[in-house]
């Protein structure tokens, strides 16, 4: 089948109940093709992060249906979803969380060690390759806590790529980067999407970044414009 569907969101509705009942996502339906580089834009508070958490399978408290690569994920147990995330989804958080007690290399390798499909040597080689891609190979053995914000964000991107996930999701993955590094990350994403067929969904406030992607979904107050 040409133009495979990587991700399908069907009538996604999400409420927050605290501090007061509030509908954040208002019946969203869309599809993302395999190998597509998609950007999500919209005003602050429009629900981009909330949507991304639903798509990433971490948030299970929503109505509607989500499937990735043809697997229906809605209704699966948390442990099933964790295993699925581990293998198929790479995630870069808005606040680039790293494990601060580990060094950079360990941070990148952990998801692959957990997946347990390659030998330690292969994983380490791949981790170094990812770091090199992002110009971070010299920091490999530094503790994560000793890095600057931008460096941490690049490590988080290297970590998201370690298991060659079919979908990479980023919540402002270049939010802390200068224009040069933003360009590097953009080029990496583009290459992954177009040459390796990995699907990219990235939230961004950077208009240039969005404009150069394959498709933009703009959100406003919980709906897609």
């Amino acid at each position: 089948m040409e133009n495979n569907i990587a991700l399908k969101a069907n009538h996604i509705i999400k409420h927050f109940y605290q501090p007061e009942p509030f509908k954040v996502l208002k019946d969203l339906s869309f599809e993302v093709k395999t190998g597509e580089f998609l950007t999500l834009t919209g005003k602050s508070g429009s629900g981009k992060s909330t949507l991304l958490y639903v798509l990433s399978t971490m948030d299970t408290d929503y109505e509607g249906e989500l499937s990735i690569n043809g697997n229906k994920l809605t209704g699966q147990t948390r442990n099933q979803l964790a295993a699925f995330r581990n293998e198929h989804i790479g995630f870069v958080f808005q606040f680039h969380y790293l494990l601060l007690e580990f060094n950079v290399l360990d941070n990148i390798m952990l998801p692959a060690l957990k997946l347990n499909k390659k030998s330690r040597e292969e994983i380490e080689a791949k981790a170094y390759a990812n770091l090199k891609l992002l110009g971070m190979e010299e920091q490999a053995l530094k503790m994560a806590s000793k890095l600057s914000g931008g460096q941490q964000q690049r490590v988080a991107i290297a970590r998201a790529l370690i298991n060659d996930p079919s979908i990479i999701m980023g919540d402002e993955p270049t939010g802390n980067l200068d224009s040069k590094n933003t360009q590097i990350v953009f080029d990496i994403f583009k290459e992954l999407a177009h040459e390796r067929g990995q699907t990219i969904i990235a939230v961004t406030h950077d208009d240039d970044f969005a404009k150069n992607s394959d498709r933009i979904i703009e959100m406003s107050d919980g709906i897609i414009l």
């Binding site: 992060s49 958490y53 990433s56 971490m58 948030d59 948390r78 442990n79 964790a82 295993a83 699925f84 995330r85 581990n86 293998e87 995630f91 958080f93 606040f95 969380y97 790293l98 494990l99 601060l100 007690e101 580990f102 360990d106 952990l110 998801p111 060690l113 957990k114 997946l115 347990n116 330690r120 970590r159």
Partner: protein, 414 residues
């Protein structure tokens, strides 16, 4: 490899917050060493008391309990058909002492648990030295066997135990008895039996068991001489004292021999229930106190683990976001608890041993002791280790479970 990743994370957690790890470790070490010390001390005390008690007490005693209930002889002879009454019945004890001792001794010796048996002729007498008079117990003994059972030769202060064998005129008396009668070795002592027989003996030795009631009232005499004193035949015995391998296990031996021996067979537990009760109570107290200490240590571990998990809540959320399952998270934190439990257990056993050694060297001069008593039983150490591990497992499991239930979005959303 999946497991070793979890171990690696657990290792990093333990080593990156060394202070907390050490505090948790110290809790376990304290609990386990106190458990070991208390139990060693109490069993040391119990052992000392037992040794003291068994200087004059055999594990099983066989004796003539006197006639059965003869308060209603008519009923005994005719049953209920006859109405009658005897005023002031005089019960004549036809047999005093134990008859047929040779056969009984042979029978008892055949029991596999029996380590020794000795016949005694025990007589209640007055010990007299001119005006001084003390009511006491004169024990006619089989010199060799008596020593095998009670090891009296080791309590001798003056004279030699074996001399009793060749001296029908000799007595070995308790030091306190000698003291109250102002008597010394080689002095003469007069003995008066309840039948009014009076006889002079020579003191050939003194002993001190440190059991005051014994040292104050007891004297030993050759069994043949005792029979002569009572004008009894050469088979006459009042008591047969029996020792077995494990003094706690008198019941099965008693159950086997009592039905075939026509005399009273009595274990030391029956005749000295207070000893047994005191040992049991001390054991209960020591177990209660040490389990309390372990529980408190457990709460300490629980608190520290809880703190760690609250501190690492972000890390846990990231791990789960990256695909670690609830089981992985539980195993990461449980591993930390187990490491603390095992390490704390090993250090605790060593510390417990050292504390026991130190206390064991504190002088304590009473009842024949020189230092505070202590016994070193492997089982105390193993039990302490097992209890410590169980405590840490429980104390670690609850926080680990809590960690595994953390919802990553809640944390990451901020």
């Amino acid at each position: 490899m999946r497991l070793s990743t979890n171990y690696k994370i657990a290792y990093v957690h333990l080593t990156s917050s060394v202070k907390q790890t050490i505090v948790a470790l110290m809790g376990v070490v304290f609990g386990i060493s106190m458990y070991i010390f208390l139990n060693s001390f109490v069993s040391g005390t119990n052992d000392t008391q037992t040794t003291l008690a068994f200087t004059s007490l055999a594990h099983i005693r066989i004796y003539n309990d006197g006639p059965a209930d003869h308060t209603n002889l008519l009923k005994l002879a005719y049953g209920n058909q006859i109405a009658g009454n005897i005023r002031n019945p005089k019960v004549i004890q036809y047999t005093q002492g134990i008859k047929n001792t040779g056969a009984i001794i042979d029978l008892v010796r055949k029991q596999p648990e029996v380590t020794g048996i000795t016949p005694q002729v025990n007589i209640n007498v007055f010990f007299r030295n001119s005006g001084n008079k003390i009511n006491g117990n004169l024990s006619g003994v089989d010199v060799n066997n008596e020593n095998k059972l009670f090891n009296i030769s080791s309590y001798m202060v003056q004279g030699k135990w074996n001399d009793l064998q060749y001296r029908p005129d000799g007595l070995i008396i308790g030091t306190d008895l000698a003291h109250t009668l102002s008597l010394h070795v080689d002095d003469n002592i007069n003995v008066l039996t309840s039948d009014g027989v009076s006889k002079n003996y020579k003191i050939i030795g003194t002993f001190q068991t440190n059991v005051k009631s014994v040292d104050k009232t007891k004297a030993y005499l050759n069994i043949t001489a005792a029979r002569q004193l009572l004008s009894e035949n050469q088979d006459y015995v009042t008591d047969l004292q029996v020792n077995i391998q494990n003094y706690q296990k008198t019941a099965p031996v008693e159950a086997r021999i009592a039905p075939v021996i026509p005399y009273k067979v009595e274990s030391w537990q029956e005749s000295n229930q207070q000893l047994q009760a005191a040992s049991s109570l001390r054991n209960i107290i020591s177990i209660a106190v040490s389990l309390t200490i372990l529980t408190v240590a457990g709460f300490g571990i629980y608190n520290i683990m809880n703190m760690t998990i609250n501190e690492k809540i972000k890390e846990i959320a990231i791990l789960k976001a990256m695909g670690f399952s609830s089981g992985d998270i539980t195993s990461i934190f449980l591993t930390q608890a187990i490491v603390i439990g095992i390490l704390g257990g090993l250090i605790g056993m060593i510390t417990g041993f050292i504390i026991a050694q130190i206390i064991n060297h504190i002088p304590f001069k009473m009842a024949g002791m020189n230092h505070l008593p202590m016994s070193y039983n492997l089982s105390d150490y193993l039990l302490a280790f097992i209890f410590g591990l169980i405590t840490t497992l429980i104390a670690g499991y609850l926080p680990a479970l809590k960690a595994s239930k953390i919802d990553p979005v809640d944390i990451i959303r901020g």
